[in-house]
Amino acid sequence: MKKYFNTIVFAALILSTWSCSKDVEDVPLERYTEEYLWNTSDSLGNNASQFLVNIYNYTPNGFNRIGNDFLAAASDDAVSSALSVTSVQRMATGGITPFANPDNVWGNYYAGIRRATMFINNIDKVPLATKLPSGAPLKAAWKAEARFLRALFYFELVKRYGGVPIVGDEIRTLNDNVEIPRSSFAACIQYIVDECDLAKTDLRLDPVLDADAGRVTKGAAYALKARALLYAASPLYNGGNIQENSEYTGYSNYMVERWKLAADAAKEIMDLNSFQLLPNFKNVFITYPNREVIFARQGGNNTNVETTNGPIGYAGNSQGRTSPTQELVDSFGMLNGSTIADPAYDPTNPYKNRDPRLAATVLYNGAQWLNRTLETFEGGFAKPGGVIQQTKTGYYLRKFMGNFENANAYSNVNRNFILFRYAEVLLNYAEAQNEYLTSPNAEVRAAVELIRQRAGLNPYQLPVDLTKEQMREIIQNERRKELAFEEHRFWDIRRWKIAGNVYNKPLHGMLIQKGTSGVLSYQEVPVLTTVFTEPKMYFYPIPYDEVVKNSNMKQNPGW
């Protein structure tokens, strides 16, 4: 037996290691549970605060958002310079389908909504004790932030799809029924407005501490409410419903009072006196923090916009992705506030004496950029022809970029994408008030004049005898100039129900030829013919999968 002893001991040893106690945990503890997240003993709410931070990641970032193009390139303000057919060009030429939509945000926003709801439902478990400078509890402000973000996500959905399912405060798990029907457009707007009203009482006051810059503030809730009401009062929904009796695509009747609600909501912000226009238009987008911005998608400091959209031909490999159209350039009018029909306009020197915002929005031939005079005439360094990507219209984007006119190279610039700013509020107010009144009053004019004054128009004052229609035209054009490339025009032409006229015709560029004597000749040439099928394209189709997966889901009319 002894001779086997060693063997048996050895075998036993081998077998015993088998049943050794575990040296690692049974489940991955770095993937923590709800109890950790809503820590009932953390008076700083560290874990919960991280959850809130992530909800901000669902906010839209408008810089080159659609397949590397600005959404504006799907409107009449710009075209994509890409050589191939890009996503945004498909949008501009009627290529949105229930199966493929380059601006498919449905899943993103419902994901954001779920997370915001989770936060709202659970934050009360955390014994957060911190107070704001105003003495109000931080916890309430946090909850209101999530509430605002959720309302914002709903609004982003509503402006695309009309009435969407309001999923409420329930957090559903794997086997829960999610066949939720769409709510009516009216209910969605009401929900957004109510949520904003709920949020604004607890939100931080503007201006916030430097450390809190970028957080949702009271002003943001007001601004969202004002914009939602403005949209709701707009012709597409307010009396212009594309399908009669469809509660999803608007109201069944026209009510002038809706304009009143919108005007009042905008006025509320103005009365807060928390915001003001920056003196210099160019700096609105690159100064941070600033008093004009109400809420922005926070970015970092980088040169992305310049390298993607800056004119080609400079060292540094700018790609010139965005080509603003002649239509946008023409809308800018003259320095004296009139249109280009004004005698001050010189077709042989078209960029002289123009609205200063033109130079701040668009880079045109002869503009100063990176210590050099931009050449977008045929064969110029920024439009050399050949196989490389370059402007299709003779223009490059200038807006959002740093002031690199006399710089040698690009340097990092603040990249917050502004979602709400005071200039829009003023224009919202002017538009709603003008529509509410039978003829524009001084308040309407004052709001628009503030914009024109800051822009540097001389004179900036408007005539006192403008009719409602004339005023509407001015306000609409002012919106186009002031808010170009900020994801407004694309929606404005829809809610004004003018998309059918704006699209379905060629967009133009400026073909500039340099004669033998160095004299430039200007010729407008078509660059892209857009397509818009009325009325169905006023709304995006609900994604096909969402319709078949949910027996209660109704598709939008025409799709």
Binding site: Y56, G107, P289
Partner: protein, 1033 residues
């Protein structure tokens, strides 16, 4: 194509049949006494010795004089004595060795060395955790042995498998190892927390070149009883590679038993004087197929045409064309064939192996050393002081020791070590290959007149600079594996009772060193007589970054107790087994499989067989309480050849066995990573707050927890027949299987986005695989000429039985009922020829068709081409794959050929799109020349447009081609120098050989290699010419 294959096979079969007839005659005569050979001389005893290829004595060789039935057998020392006279012919026979004849000359003492058969069929086969008599196997099992593996010059033994094993489908997707050069960071790993496709299958594997599919599943690779994805063993050290295809053969794996097994068994140490084998070989590799490209002038012409088609003005002028054609301005109008510019035609590969094996009856040892070196195809610059070419260097050590501690106690120890260094250009192989695909000949010159690298605003890096002057990246992988086996026989107490224990630990770790750099490129512009250089891109000095790319540790324990008993004509063998396999990979918690199993097999008189096994198996990534389940399998067999009526009446039937197995198997490889647990994790997409843009990390919710997640299951049924006839010269195996997989992990149909979170896969799907496999072997010898042919053919069909598909509006959209993974797309109906036709054609949303565009069948007649018009496209027939090996051995000369092919596959791809590139137009190919123009109505390519075309770019039948092919996969010729020559220098054997891989391919569609499929930017499959020498003593 198949026709010519059949013709060749028929010719070969014909030849063999002729030989066989001749030989059957010889065979018939052989046992009888031939009286014709009488001689007047008195036979005198001839003494001799029979040796194996190492010069070691060979026992049990049967020796007879031709024409004489009496047989002598060699003794332990290989010696024999046979009475023979001059000019008598001695015949040496042994089941493992080729038949050899020897004519007696004027000599009293002879030494005969036998050569091993190319096709081995040993009585015992390695199956899961044991060795089994081949006659007793009831499942579907197929093996290849050393000789079939060593003829393949390649970095992995997996290269030698195509066409050799029925049921194993292979696809080579690239021609070179692509190393992982992404360092593993905590962030990286959290964002790619293992999902269904990662767990279990992609721990670190050294094979990312050859896809293996066994009856439609990725097999579990088991090396010497332990699961590890190691494919780079030295083929000479591998005893056999076996595929276990049915439920009974793999059931002991429990929750990993569904996928079948690729079982690799290395050679064990054998008692005897030292056997030393040294092999040195070197070869040249060259891409099977180089894709032809259009020259600069043709490219420019097509580009202009595409612009005109898009309503744009042409880019290139007449002067440009002149310059491209006459090459007078190579800087401003370059024409560079980039593939030629950055690659060499031939790249070397070499391998050295040393194997030593021997020992006594108490202790035995085996040592194998291997070195492998494969160079890539990229050019290098002599002035660069380091190697920038792609390259693979591998060092392997495998040693095993076996000790009989006592008569009944055996200890085995195996140690395996591997170091693998992969070099690649700093810009990385993949970048170079994808740039090759999108850089037209006229993009930029290699060099500008002033010697700087050419480039442009759009192309800010230069392909040549990236190849020779972008620094390098090194990836090192280190593996260590230790294995201990203890076997104890309790024969002293209870005869037939035994116990075994096995323990294995192994570690792997891979790291990357990034020493890449990049240089600026310059656009050379001539304007108004002035030349200027505009710089683009960035100069980045050589980096020196180190990172761990992967690491893993594996522990495996197994203990088993068994009892084998024979009483009268009943044979019973039973076993109880327990094991645990714990694998930790990178940041993941280790996953642990635990099995407790029992197995019993019984046979009566070697005629009636029964076997059954039950496994209780668990995986710890399922919810506690939900981790363990039962799996079972059973089989029956009947060897009719052992019945008396066959033995008495048809003794030429050696084996005639019917067998069937059935079992319920499991597979936990799609378990996911603790998906039953609702959890939250840190996302490293920061959001900035504060005036200084302070980054804050967020926390996110993981996908919806699936509390009920459990293993996938399968009911697998296999029925087969084995027939061996005429002294085992004919061997036939046939199998039919029907495997139903259920509870497959799939996402539910009603996974609405409204829930705001992603759905985890649930146990939903049901798939069925059916197929048949046949293998036929014939081998024989005639006058010392040994020859063989073995051919196999397999078919595989699959069907989706259930997949929680939502109601489809049209039946042709239905995925359920189709093959698994069936491709769907539009059905092309030719090209639109006229404007009227264009106006009437159904259209894609957002697109106005024009003449030259593809016309599609509008299946639902709504005038719009969309998802509703998608139907199954491409092949729907059963997949067929086949292989044939034939060869001979005669007087030291041997040769073998492997032909292998695939049928009913579809080649469809994205390598047709003209001018599609995000940063500019891509390269153009000769296929585009036959594009539609009004003058070319019978075109094979639609009209040219730039970029993605909503109508012409999507996948449709227009672009589908047959992916059928067959190849001369491998050919080897060898010559073993006569023993009497080599013996003078005390060397037992010297064999010179030359072999080749992928020597000839015939494919239905031959623009690119049919195996790499669609993607032009993969490292091309290589053709290899290889020569070497093997020395044994």
């Amino acid at each position: 194509m198949l026709y010519s294959y059949l013709k060749k096979t028929a010719t070969a079969t014909g030849l063999i049949l002729m030989m066989m007839l001749q030989n059957s005659y010889a065979l018939n005569n052989y046992p009888h006494i031939s009286k014709s050979n009488k001689t007047s001389f008195m036979p005198s005893p001839i003494k001799g010795k029979v040796l194996d290829s190492y010069g070691h004595p060979l026992q049990g060789v049967q020796i007879s004089i031709k024409g004489n039935p009496s047989v002598v057998t060699t003794k332990e020392d290989g010696s024999f004595e046979i009475p023979a006279i001059l000019e008598n012919v001695l015949v040496f026979q042994h089941p493992m060795f080729n038949v050899q004849e020897w004519t007696i000359k004027n000599e009293n003492e002879i030494a005969v060395r036998l050569a091993e058969r190319y096709l081995q069929s040993p009585d015992e086969t390695a199956v899961l955790y044991e060795r089994k008599q081949r006659d007793e196997i009831l499942g579907s099992v197929a093996s290849v042995y050393t000789n079939q593996l060593t003829t393949t010059p390649a970095s992995l033994y997996a290269y030698a498998l195509p066409g050799r094993l029925p049921g194993l489908f292979t696809q080579q997707t690239r021609g070179f190892l692509i190393p992982n050069s992404t360092a593993a960071t905590e962030q990286g790993f959290l964002s790619i927390i293992p999902n269904a496709s990662v767990v279990g299958t992609t721990g670190p594997t050294d094979n990312n070149e050859i896809l293996l599919s066994l009856r439609g599943q990725t097999p579990v690779t088991i090396v010497d009883g332990v699961q590890r994805d190691i494919y780079s063993l030295d083929p000479e050290t591998i005893e056999s590679v076996t595929v276990l295809k049915d439920a009974l053969s793999s059931i002991l794996l429990g929750q990993r038993s569904s996928r079948g097994v690729l079982l690799v068994t290395t050679k064990k140490a054998q008692a005897g004087p030292p056997k030393v084998s040294f092999t040195a070989q070197t070869g040249l590799q060259t891409p099977i197929k180089k894709r032809s490209v259009l020259n600069a002038s043709q490219y420019a012409y097509l580009y202009n045409e595409a612009r005109l088609n898009g309503g744009l003005t042409p880019t290139y002028t007449l002067n440009d064309f002149t310059a491209y054609q006459d090459g007078s301005q190579p800087y401003s109008h370059p024409n560079v064939d980039w593939f030629d510019a950055i690659t060499e035609e031939y790249s070397p590969m070499s391998r050295y192996n040393l194997n030593i094996n021997g020992g006594g009856s108490t202790a035995r040892y085996g040592i194998s050393l291997g070195y492998f070196n494969q160079e890539g195809m990229f050019k290098t610059d002599e002035t660069v002081p380091y190697n920038t070419n792609a390259g693979l260097e591998r060092y392997l050590i495998n040693s095993n020791i076996e000790v009989n501690v006592t008569e009944n106690f055996n200890v085995g120890l195996q140690l395996f070590g591997r170091i693998q260094d992969v070099n690649e250009p700093g810009a990385s192989i993949n970048t170079l290959l994808s740039n090759l695909g999108n850089t037209p000949n006229n993009a930029y010159p290699m060099f500008n007149p002033n010697g700087t690298y050419g480039g442009s605003n759009q192309r800010t890096s230069n392909l040549y600079a990236n190849t020779v002057n972008s620094g390098y990246r090194l990836s090192n992988t280190k593996d260590l594996l230790a294995n201990i086996d203890l076997t104890y026989k309790f024969d002293n107490w209870v005869p037939g009772l035994w116990a075994k224990a096995k323990s294995n630990v192994s570690v792997t770790s891979a790291n990357t060193i990034d020493r890449s750099k990049s240089s600026q490129v310059f656009d050379f512009i001539v304007a108004e007589g002035d030349t200027s250089y505009t710089p683009f891109g960035n100069t980045v000095d050589q980096r020196n970054n180190y990172g761990l790319t992967s690491s893993g540790h594996y522990v495996f324990y197994q203990a088993s107790v068994g009892y084998d008993k024979q009483f009268k004509e009943h044979n019973l063998s039973t076993m109880v087994l327990a094991d645990q396999n714990k694998a930790g990979f990178n940041f993941d918690l280790p996953g642990t499989y635990t099995n407790i199993a029992t197995k019993a097999s019984y046979n009566f008189q070697q005629k009636y067989f029964a076997e059954a096994a039950l496994t209780y198996s668990g995986y710890d990534r399922y919810r506690p309480g939900n981790q363990f389940g039962f799996f079972y399998a059973a089989g029956l067999g009947w060897n009719i050849a052992n019945e008396n009526f066959i033995q008495q009446n048809a003794n030429w039937v050696n084996v005639l066995k019917l067998r069937a197995t059935y079992g319920k198997t499991g597979d936990a490889s799609d378990a996911g990573y603790f998906t039953w647990r609702q959890s939250y994790f840190d996302v490293f997409i920061p959001y900035n707050f504060g005036a200084n843009h302070t980054a804050f990390n967020g926390t996110n919710e993981s996908a919806l927890a699936n509390l009920d997640v459990t293993w996938e299951k399968a009911h697998k049924f296999n029925i087969g027949v084995d027939i061996n006839l005429f002294n085992n010269h004919w061997q036939f195996t046939g199998d039919y299987f029907r495997d139903k997989y259920y509870d497959l992990m799939q996402t539910r149909g009603r996974s609405s986005l409204l829930i705001g979170n992603t759905y985890n896969p649930e146990n939903i799907g049901i798939n069925r695989y059916t197929g048949a496999e046949f293998n036929l072997t014939y081998q024989n010898s005639i006058r010392g000429f040994n020859y063989y042919i073995t051919a196999n053919v397999s078919s595989l069909q699959s069907k989706v039985l259930f997949m929680d598909e939502l109601v489809r509006e049209y039946e042709w959209n239905q995925r359920t009922g189709q093959r698994i993974g069936q491709q769907f797309g539009w059905i092309a109906d030719g090209l639109i020829q006229t404007a009227e036709e264009a106006a009437q054609s159904p259209r894609v949303a957002g697109y106005t068709p024009q003449p030259g565009d593809i016309k599609y069948k509008d299946l639902n007649n709504d005038g719009i081409i969309n998802q509703f018009d998608e139907a199954p496209i491409g092949n729907t027939k059963p997949l067929i794959f086949y292989g044939t090996t034939l060869g001979f051995n005669f007087k030291g000369l041997d040769a073998s050929v492997l032909i292998q092919g695939v049928k009913n596959v579809t080649y469809g791809g994205g390598d047709w799109i003209f001018g599609l590139g995000l940063s500019g137009p891509e390269q153009a190919y000769p296929e585009f020349l036959d594009r539609w123009t009004p003058e070319n109505p019978t075109a094979t390519y639609p009209r040219l447009t730039l970029g993605e075309n909503l109508n012409n770019s999507p996948m449709s039948t227009f672009y589908l081609k047959s992916g059928d092919y067959f190849r001369v996969k491998n050919l080897e010729v060898g010559y073993t120098l006569p023993y009497k020559w080599t013996n003078k220098i005390k060397v037992a054997g010297v064999r010179l050989f030359a072999n080749g891989q992928n020597l000839f391919t015939e494919s239905a569609y031959d623009v690119l290699d049919p195996e790499t499929q669609r993607n032009g930017s993969v490292y091309p499959i290589q053709k290899v010419y290889n020569t070497g020498v093997n020395i044994r003593f």
